[in-house]
Symmetry: C2
Subunit: 303 residues, 2 copies
């Protein structure tokens, strides 16, 4: 998994921070989280192909999070896309898409599979699923999680040989979870020759919200949590009024959720330098990363 | 007058060419022609303040020409704008704006004076007016002209003195067009002490159209014509099918209209190098300029 921060600003763009958009690459597919104005140009800058988009997950219907959608969908059409494209988001996104399709005379050549979702699991793939949870912002805003299924444990060929399994296709059958009965009538189960299952990776994206307790459970043990931190602590009142989090509040969520990596995004245009944001985050979550446009973050497989 | 090319691409943006947007600065106001996705960031790059916008003129309702509008209008609101803002365009723009205001819950704090216009003069200011003409593209597309009123001729103080006008406030009255009767009962008209009126400047913007004869009259004698030239001549058929012009066709329009400066815009993303475009244009209109993002073009006063 590779995550690319396409836009780490919020509300208004700056020369350094585009509006919200996060791309997650996995197994040849791209999952896009939010689609602020300018996202299609950020795809170009990051050398990502919009043709590889599998799904676009929108947190909420504020302009800064969705105004890049019409242009991106139109550009995808220029690329002769055939396979359908999922768009997930809270209620209202269907109307938004219907209205701009109508007023701009946009008739995509591919199927736009728009799904207004509520909390809980909303998509299950062959070896991953996606979940959403409602957070504390208006209009209704969702946070997203992509969770991979556990991978089978490591296969130990020397143990299999010791138990009398001949090298060859039987190894593969054990690795795929089959129990074998050898000619000697000895029964060999996968657990006899394989390590314990390895955890799947977990990615969580939370933006436009006051700090909220349900996110701690939602992000529990994530490999990567991207959480908004729009202001520093001295602006906590303003953050609260506007339905946002401070960097310190976001870091506390990351700490409580015991995540491995924590990246701050949706940073207010008032902060040209990020020293203070970094310092505030590090006081609570050492190693916290202040997001930058086009930053890439790898999420390695669990061993 | 200063014109800044904010976006010289068409259909899809590239790393070098944003989607269509042209800013014209005049008398402290900015007139914006088209508003493709990313225009607000181009304002930042060009150090232009959206707060100075007087009017936005949209050629037509294709996504690449209007998808920057919601974001720009929202950002203007963040800047506490109070004065109203004109938006001119063909029928359909009111619905487009109404729909995105509704679906994004956007309620501007300033008055959006949206006017769906047809051909002819659509706005008269104190010393300029604006006109539109329909061109050959679908959906209905308008080309725009901003024409300044002539300026009074140069005042010759030595002639006035010769005729017995005393230096002082009477000079100003002559320059403002008043006829004077001196104490000697001599009548002095402004034309006796002033040169002939000086032409006002004329700016014309034409994009998304096949070459069309009405543009020649519309752009006649313009100081600056910005005309689309999406393809080179060998793609004339494709240009025609898509409702666009070749560079050569655009140059012929510029030549026939006897414009002073001619700039090509709305350049297809297929052209990374512009040598060929420049050559084709120069064969017909020597001095033709192939537009580049953030290029600035001055239009000096007529002397």
């Amino acid at each position: 998994m590779k995550v690319t921060l396409l836009g780490t600003g919020g509300t208004i763009p700056t020369l350094r921070r585009n509006l919200p958009a996060i791309a997650l690459q996995r197994d040849g597919d791209i999952f896009l989280f939010d689609c602020g104005e300018g996202t299609q140009v950020q795809f170009l800058k990051a050398s990502l192909s919009p043709g590889k988009l599998f799904a676009i997950c929108l947190t909420h219907l504020h302009g800064d999070h969705v105004t890049g959608l019409p242009g991106l969908l139109m550009t995808i059409m220029q690329q002769s896309r055939e396979r359908s494209l999922f768009i997930f988001g809270p209620p209202g996104i269907r109307e938004f898409i219907t209205l701009f399709k109508k007023s701009l005379g946009f008739n995509p050549s591919y199927f736009l599979d728009v799904r207004e979702i509520s909390e809980g699991r909303f998509y299950s793939g062959p070896n991953f699923f996606m979940e959403a949870v409602a957070v504390d912002h208006k209009p209704r805003t969702l946070a997203y999680c992509l969770q991979e299924a556990p991978r089978p444990g490591r296969f130990h060929p020397e143990k299999a040989k010791e138990l009398g399994v001949p090298e060859g296709p039987l190894f593969g059958r054990l690795q795929r979870g089959e129990t074998l009965t050898l000619e000697s009538e000895k029964v060999i189960t996968p657990s006899m020759v394989m390590g314990s299952p390895r955890k799947g990776r977990k990615f969580v994206y939370v933006t436009d919200t006051r700090p909220c307790p349900q996110v701690v459970a939602f992000a529990d043990d994530a490999d990567l949590l991207i959480h908004e931190g729009m202001f520093i602590s001295e602006m906590e009142n303003e953050a609260h009024l506007k339905g946002h989090s401070t960097v310190g509040q976001a870091a506390q969520i990351a700490k409580d959720a015991r995540v491995r990596k924590f990246v701050i995004t949706h940073i207010s245009s008032r902060y040209r330098r990020t020293d203070e944001l970094r310092k505030e985050a590090h006081n609570i979550f050492p190693g916290a990363i202040v997001g930058k446009d086009l930053m890439e973050i790898l999420i390695p497989l669990h061993k």
